[in-house]
Symmetry: C2
Subunit: 446 residues, 2 copies
């Protein structure tokens, strides 16, 4: 690509909300009525190529406006900057956003402000991959190890992973990358499905969807648990009977328990052979997870969708607190921080099974797992990407599942672009859907 003088000319935001609470899709023990939402950002440029960078943070309704305000607070760091320079080194923007000392006070590196950084950083990676005419997973897999290392902020993790160690892991990961890329294009990357197991579903619906999941080629399903033990026993039995012994069944408490409760509850469900127990307690409780893991083995412990940053992941690994690390594409500070987390997981030999679902999280996170397979960990063994069959039709380049596997995206970018019609219809409160809804006096998302 020849150098250009193109600049970022706009950082546009959208408060997009889908009325999912009306169907109890996505209901769990902590989140009974989510309205799946996205604080959505578009980076526009004055380049001739007409390309845009799209990114977003996932929320579940109220507060999506706060998340949008946080993205807007970052605008001055992005506007007017050279598109060539940013795309050649997204780490620069990542460092500038994390390093804004006044905004840093609002975290640091956690919560609303950090998720906003993730949305903007991911939008830049979307733009960079589009300009390189590659899907993000291949853009990353093709990158020089030294350059990937330069994208990572080692502050606060250098005691567990040095730049030199990261470089060696990435160099090692290149061996056989060509063969794995070919395999990936043919077979895809294994997924598992949470669609049968939402807490609000009847036993009949659970049975039907669990059988369907097996028929669709999934080798793992997941059930939400944690609201009522008797219900959970019945639902786990129902699901296990529906899928048989050969299919893995994970259970997910969505942070419902104290440490002691997590141990007791998991043991009470152990007879149904759960593969992992997910989010048994607060995502902040490293030592709590370590205690739970020790007590519930051989049931594995998984967490990560609400883990705020690489520093907490580092400790979960250092403390031997988890068997399964669940990255989320839009909770931490974007691709750069997820590279650090993937490298930490590789160093400690812990498999990464991403959190997905929500709005567009499957679309995003598949790229990170595919990069990890092709050019870092080099394996899909005991690795699965979560799949939920919600809201994919709102995206230009939705995920494609075949026989329970995510097929590798081929379109350039991060698969982050929402359809213009969807943005227009579901922007809150002025989009067509919400305007009509509010006129009828419902206003569920307010």
């Amino acid at each position: 690509m020849s150098p250009t003088s193109a600049r970022i000319t706009a950082v546009d935001t959208f408060d997009v909300r889908f009325p999912t609470s009306r169907e109890l899709d996505g209901s769990d023990a902590m989140n009974p009525d989510p309205d799946y939402s996205a604080a959505y950002v578009v980076l526009r440029t004055d380049a001739d190529d007409g390309l845009e960078g799209h990114g977003f943070t996932f929320t579940i309704g109220r507060g999506n406006d706060v998340q949008v305000a946080a993205i807007e607070a970052l605008r001055h760091h992005v506007l007017g900057r050279s598109v060539d320079e940013l795309c050649a080194d997204p780490g620069t923007l990542n460092r500038d956003l994390i390093g804004d000392s006044q905004l840093r006070w609002l975290g640091p590196e956690k919560g609303v402000m950090h998720m906003a950084i993730g949305a903007v950083v991911n939008a830049l990676w979307d733009l960079a991959a589009k300009r390189a005419r590659k899907p993000l997973w291949r853009f990353l897999a093709d990158a020089e190890p030294q350059w990937l290392v330069s994208q990572i902020d080692f502050r606060y993790i250098a005691d567990a992973l040095t730049p030199q160690e990261a470089l060696e892991l990435l160099q090692l990961g290149r061996h056989g990358a060509t063969e794995r890329e070919a395999l990936l294009r043919t077979n895809g990357y294994p997924g598992y499905t949470t669609s049968p197991g939402w807490l609000g579903y009847s036993d009949e619906k659970l049975t039907r969807l669990a059988r369907q999941a097996v028929a669709d080629g999934f080798t793992q399903i997941k059930l939400k648990v944690g609201a009522d033990l008797a219900d959970d026993v019945r639902r786990c039995r129902t699901a296990r009977e529906a899928i048989g012994p050969g299919i893995r069944m994970a259970i997910d408490a969505n942070q419902r328990w104290n440490v002691g409760e997590a141990v007791e509850w998991t043991r009470a469900l152990a007879e149904f052979d759960p593969y992992w127990v997910e989010e048994p307690t607060s995502p902040d409780d490293v030592l709590g997870h370590a205690a739970i893991r020790k007590a519930v083995a051989p049931v594995k412990v998984a967490t990560g969708e609400h883990v705020q940053n690489r520093i907490v992941f580092k400790q979960l690994l250092q403390a031997g607190a988890i068997d399964v690390l669940q990255i989320d594409a839009a909770r931490v500070g974007g691709v750069n921080e997820n590279l650090a987390i993937l490298l930490l997981a590789a160093k400690f030999g812990v498999p990464v099974c991403p959190h997905a679902g929500g709005v567009g999280l499957c679309e995003l996170v598949q790229h990170l797992s595919m990069f990890d397979y092709v050019a870092l960990s080099g394996t899909t063994e005991n690795r699965v990407i979560e799949y939920v069959d919600h809201l994919h039709d709102h995206f230009i380049d939705p995920v494609v599942l075949r026989e329970g596997h995510y097929m590798a995206p081929t379109a350039p970018g991060f698969s982050a672009m929402m359809r213009a019609e969807s943005l227009a219809e579901f922007t809150y409160p002025d989009g067509a859907f919400w305007a009509a809804d509010l006129a009828q006096g419902k206003g569920a998302a307010a």
Copy 2:
């Protein structure tokens, strides 16, 4: 007080910013140019007494608008509720705010959303104490232990502190409370001062202010470190020479270091006999603090002003990671969560030395330490409240220091009320100061 039908009628917010960056007041290794700010909230009622509840979160400039937006996202939980009921049981509101599942997704219990909860909860305690015609510290110290226990959310901390243990600690704390209250009224609560040690100050100013601190009766000062080791060696030597050997000198790195750097840097400054090293690394790094503490003893390790919630404090105590626990009145979810943290500290026998300074943090946090002294830990040994001589004149009931001691507030409430003129002048961007400043094209806070 006879029952009333009074309701909360308004939740008004203010984006208040002071142009402190122009004097390098408050400059440290991570925050070179803070504009001390408050996302400020006023709860108004239709009660005949005309009382209001005031609360705020401290920020350092940009992003204060995001913090205000987060407070506004909580408004629907507060408006229209019974003032009697809320003031009789602030824990109800605390639980409702933390339990809003959609907003919880933006944390959980951390960052912008959690600080907003803290501001609103603190405003309610201000109102409750005013209605009881007591300063907050006495309102808490006079409360029944059983009621105080009911104010605490034990989720995620019950493995370290049970309700029964909390009750016993509070019952024990009542022995001698009357005598301690009398002592407190006479002698005040010991403070220490950070005013000499800002990074942007010259050696001459450091020497002058350090001597002044000793003359003012302080027995401990604090220096900011972490930007440049040679500078820090010189500044520590300068300060130690100014104060002599009998005064404690703490050093504060404001999260500047990795674990290894923290150890090396602290050892390099050990010859100047620092009492504690504060925020040596990320506030999220429990295991990192534990490693640093082991390596730098007998220098003590202190942290807490950026610790997001009780769950991380619990782990810092469980891991033996800190010698000194630094609560902040406006970072966590308000008085209720700080009660939990004070109880955790009491259980583990770790002294609490609050973070203060900023805007109004001294005014708030003195109440928590005074309650702790009178009715919980029962001692001020090795306990000091930070003092910074900034911006107190903007408050109706500013802190009073005498011979290096905080004198016990006597006015009802939480000392949180800012002067109406200050609110009017420094509201951003429409207050008189900023309007004039922006008209001149400065706009430092934007």
